[in-house]
Point group: C2
Chain length 445, copies 2
Amino acid sequence: MDGTARTVNVGLIGLGTVGGGVARTVARHRDEYLAAYGIDLRITRACALEPERARELGFADEAFTSDWREVVGDPDIDIVVELIGGEHPATEIFEQALSAGKHVVSANKALLGRHVERLARLAADNGVQIRCEAAAGGGIPIVNALEHALVGNEILTVAGILNGTTNYILSRMTAEGLDFDEVLADAQRLGYAEADPSADVDGFDAASKVAILSSIAFHTRVTTDDVYCEGIRDVSAADIEQARSLGYAVKLLGIARNTPEGVDARVHPTMIPADHLLSSVNGAMNAVYVVGDAVGETMFYGAGAGSFPTASAVVGDVLALADAICHSDRPQAEIEPYRSVLPLRPVDDLVTRYYIRLTVADEVGALAPVVGVFARNGISISQINQLQDGDGTRCSVVFLTHEASERDVRTARAELAALPGVERVASVIRIEDVAAWTDGAEAND
Amino acid sequence: MDGTARTVNVGLIGLGTVGGGVARTVARHRDEYLAAYGIDLRITRACALEPERARELGFADEAFTSDWREVVGDPDIDIVVELIGGEHPATEIFEQALSAGKHVVSANKALLGRHVERLARLAADNGVQIRCEAAAGGGIPIVNALEHALVGNEILTVAGILNGTTNYILSRMTAEGLDFDEVLADAQRLGYAEADPSADVDGFDAASKVAILSSIAFHTRVTTDDVYCEGIRDVSAADIEQARSLGYAVKLLGIARNTPEGVDARVHPTMIPADHLLSSVNGAMNAVYVVGDAVGETMFYGAGAGSFPTASAVVGDVLALADAICHSDRPQAEIEPYRSVLPLRPVDDLVTRYYIRLTVADEVGALAPVVGVFARNGISISQINQLQDGDGTRCSVVFLTHEASERDVRTARAELAALPGVERVASVIRIEDVAAWTDGAEAND
């Protein structure tokens, strides 16, 4: 700290939930940033559709604009904070701000999950930074940990609960024995789920975050389209109860592993041991497991969404940039242009154990062809449980497999669905081999 | 990254468990640091008592010295890594290295817990940094989170499991129903506890970490001597079993809260709700709960000790300094000289609920004077359980209190011990009000 305060001007585009949190957090702590870090942080432009919202957040009328071009075109602005989400005009905001030599802070996981590589190059070419702590894990400082504190490690695995809505739904299904549709309706009524819940419940939101986190962790290009993605609509109360009795919890996990065969990146419902720390993460909270070759297993837990938690991440990024600006450090690309492009491992090459629940005709001999399908596809069964949910004509049967390949299970699943005695392949849930997450870590003795 | 590598020379003092991990981690990843960050990181001096250890770690004979003065006096060294622990000569290493304009990275919690203020001023006066990620929480990147990612927040609470040995002992006592002495002996045999276990089991190690973390989190001076400290020797299997039946887990927590009445900093056995995430942290693992006014509740989990996890933190600090050196940034004091000295709240002012177990004479009327002591001290009792451990002449009785002040409980405890019918006040365990940890956080709606 050199005793003289420098003013850093911020342009805030988007005054919704997160933008409002940022405005309020900065207003609350501005004096402290000045006293502690010598940074006079000012939000000099605030962009939203309606001036009322800017007034409500305490902005002077001359700070307000409804045109983002006025923000990125303002020569006094040092840092542009993009919090409108979506691809357009967010892409144009990024492009014009970076080209104008302004740093960009953003929580836009949809955009960054798809286009971070191109935008990061543009930032590097212009000697400015993109920072996106809020784009994955909300308030959890996971990007900072991967880029800074854990930088001495080779990161082996990043895996976790990256979507609060689905974790809220699964937690309530588990605690109350309810089915998906019931809890979803309630979550929508309570504001935990959107009217169109697809981005959350079909796993797309988590997939964007897996793309961002694995790109950063493994220094390679992973986009949202590279992430295998499956949501929680097919998970039933019966599956969760079966999981419980087998010693597992059901969680929607985003998993990214840097394996010798390539990057394994996927989002799907997962059974994990009930005593694994991720199983204890309930409600709308998020948690990210990170395994590094030196540090071993770590976990980062916090609110993955919400006005103030997300604002915490955005403001942390803004202050880091402001600190560098105040001390005339060279701007350094925080999201580095990828130094390698690792191969991606197709999900078909996944080898794990599976939980498969079938609805079958409740008659003698119905199971024989089912067992035949598994055998023909080289899938070895470790356990078969008939559930007490039959009505005399049909019932559910659960099969647990030994390790099998996704490819074989996919083929078997299609063949099972075509069998006359099988009404439905009700659910196929992967039992994650959490012990494999530490493959490649140093032994500690 | 500017394309040209710069050499950063490190002097490593101490080649024990952590020093060895640092040497091996740097050797394993040196090429990667060069490729990714343009940093040619070299450990050019390695100091230990015996040259064999340096050879075993792959150092050339000319790098070895048994005299730390040769390391801090070497004009080519940019960063001194102090990993010998203890107060002397660690203090002199810090002083001479900082005065010579070298950055210091250290895992020395005993030293930093007592003298960080003076050393931080010396660093600032010489324009260099002290970094100590490894001193609290081992491999967990908690210092980095407090100093950087969460910097937009006012930190309200830092609380957690900061000592692996005691968490290992309590976890095994809980899982196996064993008493402290039995598990301690086993832990010593297995290498989880030292021959002299006092620093761990009496809470001193955790107290040092509370001092370091609360100093950083609250930007104030808290030294180890300011932290109220009580260990786990008095926790019995009976207490843990009672806690379980009441819905609690027993953990040795380090707790630091920034309250309106002052900083509340303490280490003691604690009952916390069994469904709190900290209750699921078992074995030798550590976890730190951090509550910020914007981010709300977060938790950071990982190995608190061990060769490679601790090395991860040390190397992260070294690389951060190396990056700044390579890019000619101004050196900035990472541990800032304290910008305020907040008052400390005496532990006597603590108000919480208490679990109190007495061994009493098993006879009619023995409880009446006990109840009288509580009443006389204004302590309201919410529950009394007589345990089934009596032998006909004595038995255990558990009292749960409503909220009471530590001061009153202390007086009552002395009076209880003096009662003729009371053989022993076997244990007094605070039931932590974990809901109060979020007092002052922004409401999220």
